[in-house]
Amino acid sequence: MFKVLLRASILIIVVFLTGLAIYWLGQRQAMASPSPFPEGRAVFARPEGRPPFERFEGREGFGERGERFSLTRGLSGLIGRFVMVAIIVAVVIGLGRLMRLALVSAPLPQSNGIVVHRDEG
């Protein structure tokens, strides 16, 4: 139990320090590039002489539409990501098999007159 706690503490410290380093690096960048919208929201100017855009009332912040709950959009996104992961996994497995095949069919090393035999069993 003590060992597990010690390992967990080390891990948390490592994650914390890594996070701190990333924050330090990122915050310098963030300060260098201020937000284009000071209030954090895009401000749409209402055109002169036109009726107000009702659909802009209670508008969302920049990039928030994609985060609003929607079962259809959420499920389609989930399926899309799952398919993407499945394709990458298939590619990695395929490459792995190819590399294994290449290793198996490569000529065996021969040094100091000792012939190494491949175990076919």
Binding site: Q29, G40, G63, G77, R81, V85, I93
Partner: protein
């Protein structure tokens, strides 16, 4: 089959599915996305803790003669730790539910928002490669778990027939 492998299998499956769900905030809405992801950090840490002996063993021999796939896995896992830490950190920095609930005001920052999106996508890519590299273990463990379940079911069906 030992308990550790079975527990690890279910834990990893949970982590993988929950990661895919967290990647899609539209599926849950922002508050659930943030609270569940915060809870999943614990699962992520447990996942690393279960591999502790392997990490130490490979880490010690990293620059020595080592089987190439172990080295590849080690480098990939380090990248995964980095990108996951970035996702967690940037997630907290743009949090709209967790931090305000703890009394810390919401800070809208486009830089960290972009970093959150980019690191989440990178993490997804690394997770997919990670799964691909451990595919043999996943298939073998699944076969052992579901094979056992199937055998148990067959046994109970046969016992029920005998009772009749």
């Amino acid at each position: 089959m030992n308990l550790k492998a079975r527990t690890r299998f279910w834990l990893d499956l949970f982590l993988f599915i929950s990661f895919l769900v967290f990647m899609e905030p539209a599926l849950t809405g922002i508050p659930i996305h943030e609270w569940l992801a915060t809870a999943a950090i614990l699962t992520f840490l447990i996942h690393i803790l279960t591999q502790w002996d392997w990490i130490i063993a490979v880490g010690k021999r990293f620059f020595q003669k080592l089987f190439h796939q172990s080295r590849l896995n080690f480098v990939l896992d380090l990248l995964l730790l980095l990108s996951m830490t970035t996702v967690i950190l940037s997630g907290f920095l743009i949090s709209r539910s967790v931090l305000p609930a703890l009394g810390i005001p919401e800070a809208r920052n486009f830089f960290w928002r972009r970093i959150h999106d980019a690191s989440a996508n990178l993490t997804l890519l690394i997770v997919a490669v990670h799964v691909g590299l451990h595919w043999d273990w996943i298939v073998n463990t699944a076969k052992r778990i579901f094979g056992r379940l199937g055998r148990k079911q067959n046994f109970s069906q046969a016992a029920a027939k005998l009772e009749r």
